[in-house]
Structure formats: C-alpha cells, structure tokens
Symmetry: C2
C-alpha cells in the first residue's frame, strides 16, 4: 500500500481540518444557541432574501430535501418564515431570526478567521484564498469519471 499522493494527502488534511473546525465552530456558536449549519443558512437568507427554498439549497450545496428539513427546524424555532407564493415558498427572517444573526455574525466571522490568522501571514492568507477559489469553482463543475 502506501500509495498516498500529494493530492490525496492534501485532501485528507483538508477534510480533517474542516471537520475539526466545524466542531469547534458548533461549540462556539452554542453561546448564541445556533449550530454552524443554521448560521450558514440564516446568513444566506439575510443576504439574499426573499428567495425560494431551491435557490437557498443551491447556495449552501445541500439537496432540496435537506433544505426542507433544515427550514422546518428553523421555523419551529421561530427564526424564519415561509410564505406560499404560487407554487413557490418564499423564505424570510423573522424579527427574532434577524436579531439572532446580527448578534452572532461579528463574533462568528471573527472566529472563522482566527483559524487562519493565528498561523498565517497576510501573504499566505491571500495565496490560500486564491487557491480555494479555484478549487471551489472547479468542484462545482466536476463530473464523475466514467466507470
């Protein structure tokens, strides 16, 4: 065995890192009574509302089913509203949701940044950001190789 290439090593490192930082972020957001996934969805709504469920799902790379459930939870918590609009449901924040995301946002963005700022120079940060842009874009277009 032991056929680890540079690419597969990097991949596994990135997986471990995102996993780990996601857990820490969840722990951090507990003080605002939110999870990382919820924060992510709320901030998208805040930025792009009004929008439909499918648009939202597409933005956070989740299936429609997943989004449906997530929004059910958020609605139960009273953070968002769904209004039937012809065949579409339009999503928007409630006052409570708005207040929640506004309170959490500065610290959360700061916390996310801290992962990088604590180890990288500005130069390195810029490099990483450029590389990640390319990667993310590419992965959105990537197709499976034939069997």
């Amino acid at each position: 065995m032991r056929k680890h290439t540079l690419g597969s090593l990097t991949w596994i490192r990135m997986m471990r890192f995102t996993n780990q930082s996601n857990q820490l972020s969840n722990e951090f957001l507990k003080r605002f009574d939110l999870t990382t996934a919820q924060f992510d969805v709320l901030i998208q709504i805040k930025t792009y509302a009004p929008l439909t469920q499918s648009q939202l799902a597409e933005k956070v790379t989740v299936t429609q089913g997943g989004m449906s459930r997530m929004l059910t939870r958020l609605e139960k918590e009273g953070l968002i509203e769904r209004k039937q609009n012809w065949k579409t449901k339009t999503i928007s924040l409630t006052a409570k949701g708005e207040q929640m995301i506004d309170t959490a946002t500065p610290s959360q963005l700061q916390f996310q940044s801290s992962f990088f700022e604590e180890v990288f120079t500005t130069e390195e940060m810029k490099t990483l950001n450029t590389l990640m842009s390319k990667l993310e874009k590419h992965s959105r277009e990537k197709k499976l190789p034939p069997v």
Copy 2:
C-alpha cells in the same frame, strides 16, 4: 453587514469545497459499495491494525460514540471484527474488508487527487499542501476563546 474578512471567505469556500467533494466522493465510491466515511475508517484500520476503538476515533476526528456506531455498521456488513480483549476491543479487518479496501484504494486516491491535479500546477499543489499541514495541526490544538 458585509463584514466578510479574507479569513471568513476562505473558510466558507473550504467548507463548500469539502462538502461538494465529499458528495462526489460518495457517489464515486458507490461502485465499491462504500461511503467516504467507511473508506476512511477502513484505510485507517488497514494501516494501523490492531488498534482500539478510541485510538481509531482519535485518528479520524470523531467521538467515541460515533465510532461505536460506525463500527457496528461495518461489522454488520462483515468488513471488520471486534474482539474483546480485557476491557478493550481490538479492531481488525476481515478477509472481505481487506479485499474491499484493496480494490477501492487505488481509484479512490486517484479520485481525491484529481480535484487538485485538474486545476493546479505542481508548485501550487505543494504550496497548498504545506498550508494545509499548518492549518490542520493548529486546529487540533485550538481551544475556544473565553466567553
């Protein structure tokens, strides 16, 4: 709003990328009847067996509870064995599990690498790998800021 720093932008890009590539990887591994998480666990066992559940959990950054469930599933599929050993359970691959991971490994490592190789130069790959090493290491030691 709009307080996105370079760090928080990079963070979100990395999350989207890993999420996306994880989904593609799951789809890819279907041809071997495995999921990404299962592949990850099996390859760790293959590399480090014999080892205990807690050691394994630590390696793949998952809680003990999560590992317990994962191994229950893998055992039900006949891919691994758990032997009670004093108070510890020792994990090892069955013949079936061994064969499974050996078949899947080359293509899967190749697939993981392809995310990077399709967009990066060798130089960029090396840079990214170095940056990710630092990040991963740091995140494993990171503590939450005080409230």
